[in-house]
């Protein structure tokens, strides 16, 4: 990892996207999203994606814009078409539409079809919380997990997020993928001679395994919490995939492997304008109180603190903002400066 000035890396990433055909303003927006993830330590959705997105743009898999076309619309609901554009920009436009609808009617739901990888799904839910709304965000993706009882990839590692404004705590941001652990971590465990924790994976026969080499030999990742996670992955498939008219499960392209093909994933965004039903300050005080109580609980042995969802990431971000620098993987930095 290498420490780099936020100003410098931001400028560079922005330039890379401009060179790839994005407008100044679009390049600024996408850079902001990736930088936010990088500062929060969500590196899988940070700058490591820059080259991947640019590759897709260059090979025709992504249209270098995030304009959305409204396909059908009601006061509180819209289905929009991303027309194969950049997932992050499409998602920003879509969640803004959801927020606008919520401002008008209290509730705003926007489904997106024909989109692409949207990066950190919590970012869009948090946009709602910034507007003092409750937010929810989901996206389906290419198949990566085995449904309970099976031993092949048949459902996406579909990310799910919600966010609510939380007064002095700023906001809760819950942002998870459905797998219990990640393939990258399992590979790392193999290198370090460690065992894989229970519930993370099955081997090629569908038998739970703690041996990292079983993963490379046809193993598959499992949803968190067994069948309870499997059902959540399926929920995202329904609300983000089916409802938007997008590709689902096996029909979703593995864009990471085929950068020239359009992604075709779907998203679901919901914004609830709490000011329409009550006093925002009161809601926030109640949420503060819930967090206060949980944080003041007796700690488990070995735990230094009890965190609310998004707190660890918030702290990491604050540290970056204070120092004006961010830690980035050296190979990723090299990649970005050679683009």
């Amino acid at each position: 990892m290498k420490e780099i000035s936020i100003f410098k890396i931001k400028q560079r990433v922005q330039r890379v996207f401009e060179n790839a055909g994005l407008s100044f303003s679009d390049a600024e927006k996408i850079t902001e999203v990736l930088l936010d993830a990088e500062m929060k330590g969500i590196r899988t959705h940070g700058f490591v994606r820059v080259k991947k997105y640019v590759d897709c743009i260059r090979k025709g898999g992504i249209r270098p814009s995030g304009d959305i076309k409204i396909l059908s619309e009601l006061p509180s609901w819209a289905v929009v078409d991303g027309e194969g554009g950049l997932g992050i920009l499409i998602a920003l436009n879509a969640v803004n539409l959801a927020i606008q609808k919520a401002k008008e009617t209290g509730i705003g739901i926007v489904n997106v079809k024909n989109s692409h990888h949207l990066g950190p799904v919590g970012y869009y839910a948090a946009k709602c919380a910034d507007e003092k709304m409750f937010g929810m965000a989901m996206s389906n993706g290419d198949v990566m997990l085995a449904a309970t009882g099976s031993r092949e990839k048949n459902i996406g590692n579909n990310p799910f997020a919600y966010s609510v404004p939380a007064g002095k705590y700023d906001k809760i941001i819950y942002d998870v993928a459905i797998s219990m652990g990640s393939d990258m971590k399992i590979i790392q465990m193999g290198k370090e001679g460690k065992k894989v924790p229970p519930g993370w994976m099955v081997d090629k026969n569908g038998i739970p395994s703690d041996n990292p080499s079983d993963y490379l030999d046809g193993g598959v990742l499992l949803p968190f919490g067994g069948y309870k996670g499997y059902g959540l992955a399926l929920m995202v498939e329904m609300f983000a995939g089916v409802l938007s008219g997008s590709h689902t499960t096996k029909d979703v392209h593995a864009w990471n492997q085929v950068p020239g093909e359009t992604g075709g994933v779907g998203h679901f965004f919901m914004a609830i304008d709490i000011s329409k039903m009550g006093d925002v300050k009161e809601y926030e005080m109640r949420i503060e109180g819930i967090i206060d109580d949980i944080k003041a609980s007796e700690k488990a042995q070995g735990a230094s603190e009890i965190f609310y969802p998004g707190e660890i990431e918030k702290n990491a971000r604050a540290k970056c903002m204070e120092s004006g620098t961010v830690l980035v993987d050296e190979a990723v930095l090299e990649e970005i400066f050679s683009l």
Copy 2:
């Protein structure tokens, strides 16, 4: 367990509720919900609850009705007051209001405050699917789980459900509580000399334990999937508890222990009328296709079948309907016939 005629047990339970002060129609409705859970094998939310609810009614903790009062309302959203009535009846009225709003505007969200234990939360989500809508249902409850990093009960085992119509598969019904396992099962494991699976519980010091006796000695249940489940429990607290203006976390009464106090829990119901955006048959065909694919996957060794959420329960129910009988715990039967 004892096999009993559905007709007979239904008649009896209905009578018990009528004797407790419910109208004929209300007694019929609540019996239907409990019978459905019992037939589906969700026995924790079946007839075992009859005496508990009746006790609450007799001791003044529950008003024997499910009328709801609208506190504030928008075309797609309402917050209603259950005024300390019967949770199941309140939930039925609230989800019907959500469905009605969805029929008018595409989306219907109803928050309930001052409600009580609502039984099987999947039942209400399924009501939406029966109307060819997407449904979501949540309720908060008294604290039962330890948030990640803590070792005391500080968040409810908040149930969460969704349901979608699924063509030849009828519907998907996902209905989960947030705990990985249940206290009843841990106690049973203790009796059988079994170990508790990983991720189910921590001992009184907050250290993960597989020893059932550690549970009885101050242990606490954990959310499924660790912090990923903790964040979901908190989501339900926000959408069902905070948004409705109900009690939350430690302020929710443990109604099972204090039947004379009102419950004060909150619910969240959402209905999305898919016919407003597209062709219902087409949506259903797509959902069918997703289930087809998953069910046709390679099975894990030892798995006889790959199920979609709600399928096992649907099969159990169908078996009961065919035989005209349902298996009920003998002690529960005795209790009901002595009420």
